[in-house]
């Protein structure tokens, strides 16, 4: 795996976490619901991004 590929994957994980965290903070006022909403959104977002990544990978090989 190249350095740039690793950087892209780390960025994907970090930026999706940031998006989920900001939405969580905007939505709730206490720590517990923020953490719960953030993790739930983060996992969903990561799964969606992985699915998109797999589709793009398959298409690029055709």
């Amino acid at each position: 795996m190249t350095e740039r590929g690793l950087l892209n994957i780390i960025s994907l994980i970090y930026l999706s976490f940031i998006v989920a965290l900001i939405f969580g903070i905007n939505e709730f006022d206490t720590v517990k619901p923020i953490v719960r909403a953030t993790i739930r959104r983060w996992v969903k977002l990561l799964l969606a991004l992985i699915v998109i990544g797999i589709i793009v990978y398959i298409w690029s090989g055709i």
């Binding site: 950087l7 960025s11 970090y14 940031i18 998006v19 905007n26």
Partner: protein
């Protein structure tokens, strides 16, 4: 007459606070004494922006006129969203001017420039959401839902 004046003052206050919240991410919450929320949002948005700049990203003025060389609608939209970063985004934009801020200029020749600019894009977009949330929480009575005490 008196109510009209107070409405005008309230409108001015809304505009000033939302503008401040845009320029300095999270600052609106600090004004409303929600210190933890303001500080956390400031830190998240600034760290994301700083990573983008460290990777060589920058806010670049796009070509606005359709039909001219270099015009790209995606670049224009990206620029608008990146400006959501407030003062840091404006400083990055000003690095093109001769103000001694050349070290903040986007390094387009680097391979990770697009990725770096994406960090700025996310930080700007998140700050727009924060400004909208600030407005909703403190001024938009129609959409206000019962919330627990803000930390």
């Amino acid at each position: 007459m008196r109510k009209e004046k107070s409405d005008k003052e309230l409108t001015e206050q809304k505009i000033v606070e939302c503008l401040l919240c845009w320029l300095i991410p999270g600052s609106g919450f600090l004004l409303k004494k929600a210190y933890v929320r303001g500080a956390v949002l400031f830190a998240i948005i600034m760290v994301t922006f700083a990573i983008g700049v460290a990777l060589g990203g920058g806010v670049i003025w796009p070509v606005w006129i359709p039909g001219t060389e270099g015009f790209n609608i995606v670049n224009c939209l990206t620029f608008i969203v990146q400006l959501g970063g407030g003062v840091p985004a404006l400083i990055s934009l000003a690095s093109d001017l001769d103000l001694g801020l050349a070290f903040l200029r986007g390094r387009e020749w680097r391979g990770v420039f697009d990725l770096a600019s994406f960090y700025l894009l996310i930080s700007g977009a998140m700050n727009y959401f924060v400004v909208m949330n600030f407005y909703d929480r403190y001024y938009n009575k129609r959409h206000r839902k019962p919330m627990e005490k803000t930390p």
